[in-house]
């Protein structure tokens, strides 16, 4: 039931994934795969299980059944920090920053893996540590210039505009050197200008070779940005395909508009 093409270059494979909260099946027997370098969109009505899916992939919660593979590594039920080390990073639907940190410090946390986070070399400031620290600082500068926040690096992240807070979150995610970036409704609540700028940023990120899995409601964004769409409803996959196919698919129209005898 997974996509016909690109199995050999799949970066992420979700196999028959299920997760129930009490009696509610948030994700139900869901399978799909994300091709390397794709911008893959997940769409579906509110409560369809999209955010649960992201929480499962990033290890925040464990599935009841099914498998998640990243480059053929089984990452199912691994700790979130382990999964991040495999190259998965994300942003949150409700922006989650560190309220008492500047933009620079926030992104610095993302480079923790680069500097190794070892306590003793950090305290004694070994040469190896200094070298890595320099590399981390260069990387932070590069990322902040890339997302356009270098001039605001010393401001408190939580004090920035909503659009820029999202950029901080993206910068922090990029600092972990992800191969797969998960964006959970990144443009929700943004104005048109901010949305347009963020969309540009996403395609630039993608051009750097980072695969993107994006949850979105904005159909214009999904249609222009993504090259593969998976539609889910009630935790199950409805249809999958490129934007041209999805746009007018009867099942999608039904899921969004509803129908009298819709089977639940």
């Amino acid at each position: 039931m997974s996509s016909e093409k690109g199995y050999d270059t799949a970066i992420l494979t979700v196999e028959r994934l299920s997760k129930a909260f009490g009696g509610v099946k948030a994700v139900n027997d869901l399978s799909f795969s994300v091709t390397q370098n794709a911008i893959h969109a997940i769409i579906g009505p509110n409560g369809a299980g999209k955010s649960t899916l992201f929480n499962l992939i990033t290890g925040v919660i464990a599935p009841n059944e099914g498998k998640i593979k990243l480059f053929n590594h089984d990452i199912t039920s691994l700790r979130p920090d382990k999964i991040a080390q495999y190259g998965v990073s994300r942003t949150f639907q409700n922006i989650r920053l560190f309220p008492d940190m500047t933009v620079f410090e926030t992104v610095l946390i993302g480079t923790y893996l680069l500097t190794g986070g070892k306590l003793l070399p950090a305290l004694f400031r070994s040469n190896e540590f200094r070298k890595r620290e320099r590399q981390a600082k260069d990387r932070i500068k590069e990322i902040l210039q890339f997302v356009g926040l270098w001039d605001m690096r010393n401001e408190y992240a939580a004090k920035l505009s909503y659009g820029n807070q999202r950029r901080v979150e993206i910068a922090r995610a990029l600092a972990t050197n992800p191969r797969l970036l998960l964006l959970d409704e990144p443009t929700a609540g943004m104005n048109q200008k901010e949305t347009k700028e963020l969309m540009q940023l996403f395609s630039q990120v993608n051009q750097q070779g980072i695969t993107i899995l994006i949850i979105a409601h904005d159909m214009h964004l999904v249609n222009t940005l993504s090259n593969q769409i998976t539609v889910i409803n009630f935790g199950e996959k409805l249809v999958e395909g490129p934007p041209e196919v999805i746009q007018n698919h009867p099942a999608v129209v039904e899921a969004y508009m509803g129908r009298a005898e819709a089977n639940a």
Binding site: T58, V60, R79, P80, D81, A84, Q85, S89, R90, F92, N94, R96, L97, F98, P99, D100, M101, E105, L108, I109, G110, T111, Y112, L113, T115, G117, K118, L119, A122, L123, E133, A136, R172, A175, T176
Partner: protein, 288 residues
Amino acid sequence: MFFDQLINGIVLGSIYALMAIGYTMVWNVLRFINFAHGEVYMGGAFVSLYLLLLDTPIWLAYLGGVLAGALLGYLMEKAVYMRMRNAPKLNLLIAAIGISIFLQNLAQYIWGATPERLTSPFLYKNIQIGDMMINQHYIFIIILTILVMMVLELFMNRTIMGKAVQAASQNISATQLMGINANKVISVTFAIGSAVGALAGILVGPVFLVYPTMGIFAGLKGFTASVMGGMGNIPGAMVAGLLLGIIESFAAGFISSGYRDAVAMVILLFILLVRPQGIFGKIIQQKV
């Protein structure tokens, strides 16, 4: 008289400040009060005392006590608190009280209840400044406290591990998703906070003696200081600890020594009424 009380206050305040750091650091990462922290203070002092009985050189005995304190805090977290990550905070609090009582009794079983004096290379020497005689051990306490605060400040703000501790205290789920092992950060936090607490116990040992329940009052004062400074605020805990010590010392010297704790508690109540977030704390907005 004034300066004598001031010095006494700074010494007492240094101890409170060192204790407050442990409470505040643990609060930062786990959002609960480790009521067994006073027993880390006691444990460190006892291990130093024991090492001295074995003819260990005094500096090694002190160091051993500090390391034992760090280990005790680390084990406490690994053995008990870590297993209760998803439990209500009240359960952790009660577990902490349980650990506290257990450790007091364990210490009494091993070492007995008779107060004993830790030795200090400085205890019987004085420094004369003007017409004032200051005990050298007091100076030692003050210098060591300043040193610890500087090292801690460097660790928290200049190392990536320190930044990770800060990040974990501000948003633990986002921290984990940056590839940072939250359990490791929590362990490091416990070890450091406990090492500092044990150091406080060791420094006090030569002055106020070492006995199994020595941690109860010191713990209460350290906790008071951490609340005064704003829970979770490390510099705040340091300043509030010093302030509390000085206030107590003046209350004892100029009012009556019997009123010393009463004055401290009245000030705590006053701060809780006027600035519930602590002197240096910020009002935390709860996000829905």
